[in-house]
């Protein structure tokens, strides 16, 4: 029996140490009740201190944008903290400008609430809700893009076209924690009970892999939103919209919203770039919209059409096609606005084409993938 003495002693010591750590954690990390004053008394929430501001706000039904679900890797959950909560952390600084830091802007997922504090958030965030949605349909648009439609059941969402939601991906396979990712809504704002997203598979992406390989019709999924300020302006300027792939989402929503709202006083040109025909989708729907609405012009372009595509439409990079159309078909002298959705590289390239054709930079709106 003597051989048991050593392991039993070690087990007892480990047990005592674990209990001691748990006890110390309870005492040291017990900050008690803390008050969070939002927008100078617009709302005052009482929370149990010790957790991060982002998650504590969400327990009170106040959702800040967060494309990573609080892991400190997206920089979306910015808010102004007017109470002194210490210096900016190294995990915050990569996402903040000097001006933001001087203005006490912090990442809510990195700030622990240890005492009463005051914050400022945009008023529209009070309208953000979490939905327990059901997957109504999943459709393959291309080999790597899926259209996913969610039914919100009894709940309803109020949003303007161009906004986005965050999907809450549950733990799956080797992914142990829950993950959140942001996607632009392609659905009609008029349809308050449905949310449609276009999701492109990203190599190694936690959320997109889940959607493409695990998600099925009838599944439940959390959605948080609406977020974002990308939107159609209220002017009569001609709209030049440029996007490829899943970047079509906000423009599909904007187009349907214009039709539903009977906004027919401004022309819309939609330039949709892809490599070959297998990367194109919604062609029939866009053609039908063009036929029914004289103010809508759809310009699909292939950069490298295959022989079997029998492509007779525009060819070349979408920026070259855009440049040609502004000069030859639309007119540089017209009152133009730019609307872009895509990667920073694509947005920069389109910005150059548009500004070179006399469109002021402040009249170019974009939803960047950065």
């Amino acid at each position: 029996m003597s051989f048991l003495i050593a392991p039993l002693t070690i087990a007892c010591i480990s047990g005592v140490l674990a209990a001691l750590i748990a006890l110390i954690d309870k005492v040291v990390n017990n900050y008690g009740e803390c008050k969070i004053d939002i927008n100078e008394g617009t709302k005052v929430e009482t929370v149990n201190g010790g957790d991060h501001l982002l998650s504590l706000l969400s327990t009170k039904g106040i959702f800040l944008p967060s494309a990573c679900g609080g892991k400190g890797s997206c920089g979306a959950c910015k808010c102004q903290v007017t109470t002194d909560v210490g210096p900016h952390l190294p995990t915050e600084t990569p996402y903040l400008t000097k001006e933001e830091m001087a203005d006490n802007v912090r990442l809510a997922c990195q700030i622990k609430v240890k005492s009463d504090l005051s914050i400022h958030i945009p008023e529209e965030l009070f309208n953000v809700k979490q939905f327990n949605a059901t997957v109504l349909s999943i459709k393959d648009l291309t080999y790597d893009i899926k259209e996913v439609v969610f039914d919100l059941g009894e709940e309803s969402i109020t949003f303007h076209s161009g906004m986005y939601v965050q999907i809450v991906v549950p733990p799956y396979a080797k992914v142990k924690g829950s993950t959140q990712r942001a996607y632009s809504m392609s659905s009609r704002p008029l349809d308050h009970n449905k949310v449609e997203l276009l999701i492109r598979l990203v190599p190694g992406g936690i959320a997109t892999t889940y959607v493409h390989e695990n998600l099925k019709e009838g599944d439940k999924m959390g959605l948080i939103g609406p977020f974002g300020d990308f939107r159609r302006s209220s002017t009569d300027s001609i709209m030049l919209c440029v996007a490829g792939g899943s970047g079509m989402a906000p423009f599909k929503s904007i187009l349907h919203d214009m039709i539903d709202s009977n906004v027919t006083n401004r022309d819309v040109w939609y330039f949709f770039g892809a490599r070959s025909l297998r990367d194109m989708f919604y062609m029939d729907e866009m053609r039908a919209l063009e036929k029914e609405n004289s103010w809508f012009h759809f310009v699909p372009a292939l950069s490298e059409p295959m022989e079997e595509d029998n492509w007779t439409g525009e060819t070349g990079l979408i920026t070259d096609v855009l440049d040609r159309f502004i000069k030859d078909s639309i007119g540089v002298e017209k009152d133009l606005e730019g609307y872009l959705c895509g990667s920073p590289g694509m947005i920069n390239a389109c910005n150059n084409v548009m500004t070179n054709n006399g469109i002021p930079i402040e009249k170019i709106y974009y939803d960047s993938f950065a």
Partner: protein, 151 residues
């Protein structure tokens, strides 16, 4: 080889489902310290300078960005496609974040491809880590040398 706490934490972060769905280790069960030593030896063996190789790969990534997400031909030798996704990925060594940019470089005459990302380039340059065998973004030095036509 004994690993420091930082190395152990990095290896935990590299597991599937922590930062990316598939992780950074593939089927490789070795401590990352051993993988890093192997990387340095392999690169030396193939006569590849890590910094030079990373610079060439970065240049390829930038060339690919001119395609705005579509593949483009570079110097009549390579088809390069750079795609960007929303958001950032933290480095498993917890020393910063990287944009989600992926580039596939295909050598036309060899019909062989390699795939890189901003994070895989950071891991190679800063940490001399090529990712575990079987990982999606694992760069095999001999294949990299062939595809890039390094002397």
């Amino acid at each position: 080889m004994k690993m420091s706490p930082n190395m152990r934490k990095a290896q935990e972060n590299m597991a599937a489902g922590v930062i990316t769905a598939d992780g950074f280790l593939g089927d490789d069960k070795r401590p990352i310290q051993d993988m890093i030593v192997e990387t340095e030896e392999l690169m030396r063996h193939h006569g590849i300078d890590i910094d030079d190789a990373v610079q060439i790969l970065k240049n390829m990534m930038e060339e690919g960005r001119n395609g705005l997400g579509e593949p483009i031909t570079v110097e009549d030798k390579w088809i390069v496609q750079t795609t960007e996704a929303r958001g950032h990925l933290p480095c498993p060594f917890e020393d910063g974040i990287q944009r989600k940019i992926t580039t596939v470089i295909r050598n036309i005459s060899l019909n062989e491809s390699i795939m890189i990302s901003t994070l895989s380039l950071h891991l190679l340059k800063k940490h001399h880590f090529l990712e575990g065998k079987g990982s999606t973004f694992r760069l095999e030095p001999d294949k990299m040398k062939r595809v890039l036509e390094l002397k």
